[in-house]
């Protein structure tokens, strides 16, 4: 499952981070690395971007970028 399809309140473990270039580098730098647990906390009022919780902090990214992140073991947190 990709991160953009995860419903608020659910989380899972990252298996792969796709995409390329500076953006991908940024996502990895921000701690979205394989084996990390990430939870979707919220969707912005207009449906995009989404709010994530990982490594004890809150990060926001857009859906289309979240679509590049693969998750496993998605379950309610």
């Amino acid at each position: 499952m990709t991160l953009d399809q995860v419903k608020p309140g659910y989380g899972g473990i990252i298996t792969a981070v796709g995409g390329e270039g500076a953006l991908r580098h940024r996502l990895l730098d921000m701690g979205l690395t394989p084996k990390t647990h990430v939870m979707v906390r919220k969707v912005a009022p207009m449906g995009d971007p989404i709010e994530l919780y990982l490594r004890s902090y809150v990060l926001t990214i857009r859906r289309e970028d979240a679509a590049k992140i693969q998750l496993k073991e998605v379950s309610p947190v």
Binding site: H25, R26, D29, M30, K42, M46, T60
Partner: protein, 671 residues
């Protein structure tokens, strides 16, 4: 020789707070990632030989935005004696990610573990000694915001400067990554030395695939070949590409030491509280109405509830002061022209502007509350989708909000935007957000023409600015600034209580700036205007200012504005002096009308404008090119005079067209 010390750390981890603490400065602090966009330096209090440099926040040494490049360049090229790395203890994993990279540089380093107050208050703890042993650098727990642990930090820093030694540990990797980094370090040793990069850092960057490093080291094709080969082997063995492999290597190491040193039972109180507050403030349906409500509330409080009475009060004092001065001048028997210069020139000109001091300070007060509380980051989150429609990202909203205060810091704030295209477009659009210096103009005109509907007219002017910015965005997006919208990756900090001291300091700074401006630029402009309107070309005193030097200059440009409905030379002159500072529009008109009271001023204004043309005049002032200070900022940020001139020309044309349309339609309906 004094020693340079660099303050480095993630965005919003408290670098500037610590900088202010250590140097006694008053640099801008805010609860928003990316407040500092330029490096700032100052000597440490009590240690004049140590110069501290505050840097923009970065998340890694692979820079992403233009202000982040500043930091990487500073640390790599200016060779600071030591780095003070600030780590936000409430968010330790991601913060240590940068620390590991800084350690690879081999520069002596001290870690300041900040925000310990929040960690402690939530019942969590961090074993600082153990952390220090794992990392091989001194770690000092502090709370910059509460001024705790600062002297311990200072001791550790002085010690490090006196006996500098590189971090004891630079190796956090094992297995395949380790193999690759070490073999590569081996083959590039000489090149790293000649090019001046720390070897370990250079090797890691090569494994990571950093283009800048590959160029900087002038690798031979043989070396490139070996490099690629080793990286391929590593990727195959780990089943991960090079970038992910390195990020994974660092984070794995960090997770291990955190498991050892960090006792975390729960989220911090601030984090728990933030989640609750956000349930309301970024609510699916309520989020946007609440944002609009907050903005309306701010404007309402600033302009009417709090601002208006304060302004009246100040106006009275200025009136009393002017009368007193006139009395003194008369009894001293000064000549009429001296009285005219001081009363009709200086007092009228400067006074008309000065009374706006409370409103402007209030506006900055509320903007700083928005920023310090952490709400500004939420605004970016809520508005991102909308801004994407005009080709920008949520982050662009922040410079625009700051633009309601002043365009200069707003234009500078665009440095935190990650793409050049976003930056340029935001710089062009930001001045359409009506800045606080234009308030006196709206105040003067609405008082004369729409005393009852002042609030509505003012609100409409702000909306006009925003609508024009949106339309311009759409236009620019499909013409000059084509391209895909950039990604939006931003941390949302915890809500925090705004620090009273910081907010008060900011208000004081803004008040000082404004008063300084009133007594320099506007003062001089008022005198010049008074002079030009009191004399004719052969320097004879004129009774009627229509015979003056200014009138003859103003009359040359005045016809340009006939299609906009105001052809009086005084209006066009005011618009031009407005380029020095927007408040000058008011002081100029006041001086030129020679009015001694508000009633008189209104009467004269009615001879210059009709109600319809007063609106087109206002529309023009909202939109036309910003003042010289903002123009200079535009030039600096766009990096070219030509681009800045083009921007100003664009803004002025837009203003002309908008005012034209408003006047012509207004004529049809009300004319």
């Amino acid at each position: 020789m004094s020693d340079l010390l660099a303050l480095a750390g993630n965005q919003n981890c408290g670098k500037t707070t610590l900088f202010n603490c250590l140097t006694g400065s008053n640099q801008h602090v805010g609860n928003f990632p990316g407040v500092t966009v330029e490096k700032k330096e100052g000597p440490i209090k009590g240690h004049k030989d140590m110069i501290l440099v505050d840097l923009p926040g970065i998340y890694s040494l692979s820079p992403y935005t233009s202000e982040e490049v500043v930091t990487r360049d500073f640390i790599l090229k200016e060779h600071p004696k030591a780095v003070i790395n600030i780590v936000d203890a409430t968010n330790i994993e991601r913060n240590l990610y940068l620390s590991l990279q800084l350690m690879e540089l081999g520069i002596p380093m001290v870690i300041a573990l900040n925000m310990m107050d929040e960690v402690r208050a939530s019942g969590n703890s961090i074993d600082v000694e153990l952390l220090s042993a794992h990392l091989g650098v001194p770690v000092i727990p502090i709370s910059a915001g509460k001024n705790e642990g600062i002297s311990d930090l200072l001791d550790a820093v002085t010690e490090t400067v006196r006996h500098p030694k590189p971090p004891a540990r630079m190796d956090f990797c094992r297995g395949e990554v380790h193999k690759a980094i070490h073999s590569i370090a081996h083959i590039i040793e000489d090149q790293a030395k000649t090019s001046g990069y720390p070897l370990r850092f250079a090797a890691t960057k090569l494994v990571e695939g950093d283009e800048l490093m590959i160029k900087a080291l002038h690798l031979t094709s043989d070396q490139k070949h070996i490099l690629n080969h080793m990286v391929e082997n590593m990727e195959k063995a780990l089943d991960m590409d090079r970038e992910a492999a390195l990020a994974d290597m660092r984070y794995t190491f960090i997770e291990e030491i955190c498991r050892d040193c960090v006792v975390k039972h729960r989220e911090t109180r601030e984090q728990v509280r933030s989640e609750k507050i956000d349930r309301l403030l970024t609510h699916k349906y309520l989020g946007i109405p609440i944002f609009l409500g907050i903005m309306l509330l701010i404007f309402w409080l600033t302009f009417s509830v709090l601002g208006a009475p304060l302004q009246d009060l100040l106006d009275n004092w200025i009136g009393v002061g002017t009368d007193w001065l006139e009395g003194v001048l008369v009894s001293a028997g000064t000549s009429e022209w001296v009285r005219s210069l001081l009363i009709d020139g200086v007092c009228a000109g400067v006074g008309s502007v000065l009374s706006f001091l409370p409103i402007i300070v209030l506006l900055f007060f509320f903007l700083s509350l928005l920023e310090d509380s952490g709400y500004m980051a939420r605004v970016a989150f809520v508005m991102d989708k909308m801004l994407r429609k005009i080709g920008l990202s949520g982050r662009s909203f922040v410079p625009m909000l700051i633009g309601f205060g002043c365009s200069v810091p707003a234009i500078m704030a665009t440095r935190t935007l990650s793409s050049d295209r976003d930056r340029k477009m935001t710089i062009v659009l930001t001045p359409f957000m009506s800045c606080s210096a234009k308030l006196p103009i709206y105040g003067m005109i609405t008082m004369a023409f729409f005393p009852k509907q002042g609030g509505i007219v003012m609100f409409a002017l702000y909306v006009l600015g925003m609508v024009v910015a949106i339309l311009s965005g759409l236009l620019l997006k499909s013409t000059i600034f084509k391209g895909n919208p950039v990604p939006f990756v931003m941390e949302l900090p915890s809500y925090r209580m705004p620090a009273l001291r910081g907010v008060l300091m900011l208000m004081w700074e803004k008040a000082k700036d404004f008063i300084r401006k009133a007594f320099t630029i506007i003062f001089v402009a008022a005198i010049v205007i008074w002079f030009l309107q009191s004399f004719d070309w052969s320097l004879n005193w004129v009774e009627d200012s229509t015979d003056s030097i200014l009138a003859s200059i103003g009359s040359v440009i005045a016809p340009l504005f006939i299609p906009l409905g105001f052809d009086d030379w005084r209006a066009s002159t005011a618009l031009i002096t407005g380029l020095t500072a927007k408040e000058s529009v008011v002081s100029t008109l006041t001086v030129l009308t020679g009015a001694a009271s508000d009633a008189q001023l209104s009467a004269v204004l009615h001879t210059i404008f009709t109600p319809v043309s007063s609106i087109s005049f206002l529309a023009f002032t909202v939109l036309y090119m910003p003042c010289v200070a903002a123009f200079a900022a535009t030039k600096r940020e766009l990096g070219s005079l030509r681009a800045a001139v083009a921007t100003a020309a664009y803004q002025t044309s837009v203003a002309y067209i908008a005012a034209f349309v408003i006047f012509q339609f207004g004529q049809l309906f009300f004319g």
